[in-house]
Symmetry: C2
Subunit: 119 residues, 2 copies
DNA sequence: TATTGTTATACTCTATAACTATA
DNA sequence: TATAGTTATAGAGTATAACAATA
């Protein structure tokens, strides 16, 4: 599903961070590096790339001068929405090849797989 | 599971190629790039890294002078076997947290997921 | 002429260590 | 002193384009 994207070759990692800042308000560099499970320097670099592409902006936190809040630009929000639309469409198409019984089997396995993935 | 590895920090990609050459005889650079779904130059680079680490060797094909066959060294085979052992142990441990009913649900979902992944 | 591999080049992601600025 | 972010540096993976060697 991650391969479903909008033309314009924004890499996967950068796209994932875009989804993060669109879906959550006021994320800092540190919060983003926790979310994506990378180190702060790595996230810093990725955010730089997003800002250079005009997809995100940095702004200082009002309450803590050390923190930096990353926000999506209009262009960034548009990219996320288009990508989401494409992914939902792809997923729906995949799901249409699954019978009701198969769907039930997947539903049954889903929470077990999630538990194993989180452990 | 892929995170389960032997100490010595051989990266994931390189380890995956090692499993490829241990599990299949006489693989060429081209065959390996197909197997790992990367371009030949990329695979060439990875094989170079393996040779530098002493895990694999290159040798010319007897029947086609253009082809290069990649083979695991003793050290390479040892690394693969130890890694496999660790991964099997990890997997068994995970499986031990799954009840018989849950196991049945996973077994039912498995072929469906495989079909979707291949499509 | 087509195929196989290689080299050159460039971009992305990742990490650790060391540094700056703020709390 | 501790925390948030940044810069410096280095290793790894990926791709495309251009090239050499062989079929």
């Amino acid at each position: 599903m991650r391969l479903e994207r909008v033309d314009g070759d924004v890499p996967d990692t950068q796209l994932s961070v875009m989804f993060g800042i669109v879906n959550n308000e006021g994320l800092t560099i540190g919060a983003l590096s926790d979310l994506e499970r990378v180190t702060p320097p790595s996230m810093n670099r990725t955010v730089n790339a997003l800002v250079e592409r005009g997809l995100a902006t940095r702004s200082g936190s009002p309450d803590d001068g050390r923190k930096v809040i990353v926000t999506a630009t209009d262009s960034g929000m548009q990219l996320v929405e288009e990508t989401r639309r494409k992914r939902v469409a792809w997923f729906s198409k995949q799901l249409s090849t699954v019978s009701a019984d198969e769907r039930a089997a997947l539903d049954a396995a889903s929470p077990i797989l999630r538990r194993l993935a989180d452990s």
